[in-house]
């Protein structure tokens, strides 16, 4: 399924060969996620990519409010908790004062596509050099399976008990496509955790998004279509089938924009490099004060 981040060669032909090892950045503990939940898979992919790109020691990550609020318990990197939906603003603050850090956000669909729409749109519009991992399970998992802006038409949730009716509850948001319109977005893609092949592709997307940041590009975002068996009222297996069927139909998979690959010259001028912060402010100097 995934490649060994640190392959160790066999001592002699025919000897057992290590083909996979848990990345060290992934904490040695069981998660609080429900059986069959996709969050764990996304955590693991992130851990693998961060390890492969040698990022953990430079990473400052932002945890969301949602089922992944405890992401810091599973990924051994520096973490700050953001208020519900505000992770992109928090990440902006980190980015601006820590130009050398790898800055990562992890958000659910309620977090990113409902309460936090302003923050995500403007972080993307500013072209903040941050990487956003967006886990879209079409529901508010943590609070008990209420309707999210991403919930499919007709889908029953605890707050749309007879199914999502577009006349009363509007239509699902494809926020990644919306964000991809913005020139500040260097990379936007949508993958899925539905099966091994999709997981492999999703990992490649996450890797690409991280590379964009490492190489000094703008905002990068990967939407991971995920499941919530509990919130959807399905068995894990049923939820995977549902994910592969109606969910992917509503949210097409693939790279939506990759401006680093496209002719960058067509874009408006480059965003000025993040401003370095001196370790100590300048010495107090009255003469430096401009006229009022």
């Amino acid at each position: 399924m995934t490649l060994n981040p640190n392959p160790e060669l066999p001592a002699r032909p025919g000897a057992p060969r290590l083909i996979y090892r848990k990345p060290d950045v992934l904490a040695d503990r069981s998660t609080h996620y429900c059986p069959g939940c996709g969050h764990g898979i996304v955590h693991r992919l992130l851990a693998e990519v961060m390890t492969e790109l040698d990022l953990p020691a430079h990473t400052i990550a932002v945890a969301p409010v949602g089922c992944a609020v405890f992401a810091y318990d599973y990924l051994n990197v520096d973490f700050v908790e953001a208020p519900h939906g505000r992770a992109p603003a928090v990440a902006t603050g980190i980015r601006r004062v820590r130009p050398e850090a790898f800055v990562l956000t992890y958000q659910g669909d309620g977090d990113l596509a409902a309460i936090g729409t302003a923050e995500i749109v403007h972080a993307a519009a500013r072209g903040e050099r941050i990487t956003a991992i967006f886990v879209n399970n079409g529901i508010y998992g943590m609070t008990g399976g209420q309707m999210a802006p991403t919930t499919l038409l007709g889908q029953r949730t605890t707050s749309s008990p007879t199914g999502r009716d577009p006349l009363l509850m509007g239509y699902p948001i494809r926020i990644t496509e919306m964000l991809a319109q913005l020139p500040g977005v260097t990379y936007a893609a949508r993958g899925s955790i539905a099966d091994a092949s999709q997981i492999g592709k999703l990992k490649a997307m996450i890797r690409r998004a991280c590379m964009v940041q490492i190489e000094g590009g703008g905002f990068s975002l990967v939407e991971a279509l995920s499941n919530c068996p509990v919130g959807w009222g399905m068995t894990p297996q049923e939820s995977i089938e549902h994910l592969k069927g109606p969910v992917v139909e509503a949210y097409p998979l693939g790279v939506i924009v990759d401006r680093a690959l496209a002719a960058v010259v067509t874009e408006p001028g480059p965003v000025p490099d993040p401003r370095a912060v001196p370790a100590d402010g300048p010495a107090p100097d009255a003469t430096a004060v401009p006229e009022a």
């Binding site: 400052i60 609020v69 520096d78 908790e81 902006t92 403007h122 401003r275 370095a276």
Partner: protein, 425 residues
């Protein structure tokens, strides 16, 4: 405002040295001066969103911070600004955010997170009149918000209230020190008069020494990963965090209370006021003294922790207290709590962006003075009657008469409310 005041509460310069200092002063707008003070104090990053009457502060930062290679971001909203501040501060940067009343309401959520997670930051509120969109005139109607509230949960933030532009500059620097020493957001509150008026200020700057933070997020190279968070779903663990927070607040209350007094040596009537209201009160005191009312000023500088003990001491010797605010009467609640009935407490305030004139305050003081004098005369009369009665009647009558007599301060406290006439409320 018609009265002019010395910056930083200093007297008129007399010696040639002081005269030279005076000449070194620069005429600056409050918002600009405070912004520059923050810059000289080593502020690494500023995040803001335009709102009157603090926009000059944002504009000053927009020009100066990039000049110095530091961070300025105009956010998409006050939510954006304060959460950017949260992120930057979590890495150990010295961070300033400013706004005015409606914007502070939006920042309340993140303030709670920062208090809960121990993230230092300085937030300036250039207060305007509310509620709602209200107006842009000067106001102190965010006293409750600053001292009792903003966000949810059991937390406090130190609140500093300057009464001059020079003091605002000093307190902004102190606010950074407090924030970093106690790992807490700190607020500096003043109003549009201080923010937008020009005053001669001395260019005295300080850049507080940097502490080493064992909590700052810098990337977990060669050390275990760090987490800055407020969540704890285990009640027993969360309560421990709560208790630690309360200990911190107790320590702040012990060590960081600030207040100032003026003309208090012989004062019988004490005006309690902060910020712009204190400047009006100062002028009123001069006028009142000319009319024979011995008045003095007690000016809280930290609104939280409130100088309760110090005010209680003052109340022991005062005939009465008059609280003056640019609000319907918010701080006066803390004044009453501190005074605990030791003397009558009156109130005079204006709302909607209006500032009481010194003459208004003198009028309120005279009304209060009159009531107190009448009460005192009444008490003396009762006392005479009691002495007369006890000489002629059995002991239990004396006892009853005493219970019936109005306790000192009670008669006033129960009198009909009158905000504008300086009556009790």
């Amino acid at each position: 405002m018609t009265d002019t005041l010395e910056v930083g509460g200093g007297g008129r310069p007399k010696s040639s040295e002081e005269e030279a200092k005076r000449r070194a002063r620069v005429l600056m707008k409050g918002n600009d001066a405070v912004a520059e003070a923050a810059i000289q104090a080593g502020c690494d990053a500023y995040f803001g969103y335009p709102i009157t009457p603090q926009a000059e502060l944002l504009e000053w930062m927009a020009r100066r911070m990039p000049e110095l290679g530091r961070v300025f971001v105009q956010a998409e909203s006050e939510l954006g600004a304060i959460n950017m501040a949260l992120g930057a501060a979590a890495t150990g940067a010295r961070v300033l955010v400013s706004s005015s009343s409606p914007g502070i309401s939006l920042m309340a959520e993140a303030m709670s997170y920062m208090a809960g997670s121990g993230t230092p930051m300085v937030l300036i509120n250039v207060m305007r009149a509310g509620p709602g969109l209200g107006g842009i005139g000067p106001s102190q109607s965010d006293y409750f918000q600053a001292t009792k509230g903003h966000g949810h949960g059991d937390y406090r933030v130190p609140v500093l209230a300057p009464a001059s532009i020079g003091e605002a500059m000093d307190l902004t620097v102190d606010a950074f020190e407090l924030a970093e020493r106690y790992r807490t957001p700190v607020m500096v509150v003043f109003d549009g008069i201080l923010g937008q008026a020009m005053e001669p200020v001395e260019l005295r700057f300080r850049n507080p020494a940097r502490r080493t933070f064992d909590w700052a997020l810098t990337g977990a190279a060669g050390r275990p990963a760090r987490v800055i968070k407020s969540i704890d779903l285990v009640p027993e663990v969360l309560e421990k965090r709560n208790i630690a927070l309360q200990r911190k607040y107790a320590e702040i209350s012990r060590h960081e209370v600030r207040w100032a007094t003026e003309s208090m040596e012989d004062a019988e009537y004490v005006l309690v006021a902060y910020g712009t209201a204190a400047r009006v009160a100062r002028s009123a005191i001069e006028k009142a003294r000319a009319k024979g009312i011995k008045a003095g000023l007690f000016r809280p500088i930290t609104l939280w922790p409130f100088p309760s003990r110090e005010l209680a001491r003052v109340a022991r010797h005062a005939h009465a207290i008059l609280t003056v605010e640019l609000s319907s009467g918010q701080m006066v609640e803390d004044v009453r709590l501190a005074v605990e009935g030791r003397c009558p407490v009156g109130f005079h305030g204006r709302m909607g962006g209006l500032v009481p004139t010194p003459d208004e305050v003198v009028g309120a003081l005279k009304a209060l003075h009159g009531k107190v004098e009448r009460t005192r005369e009444h008490e003396r009369e009762e006392q005479r009657k009691r002495q007369h009665a006890s000489a002629a009647a059995p002991a239990e009558r004396t006892h009853r008469a005493e219970a019936d007599a109005p306790a000192r301060g009670h008669a006033l406290a129960n009198a009909p409310a009158g905000r504008r006439d300086g009556g009790e409320r």
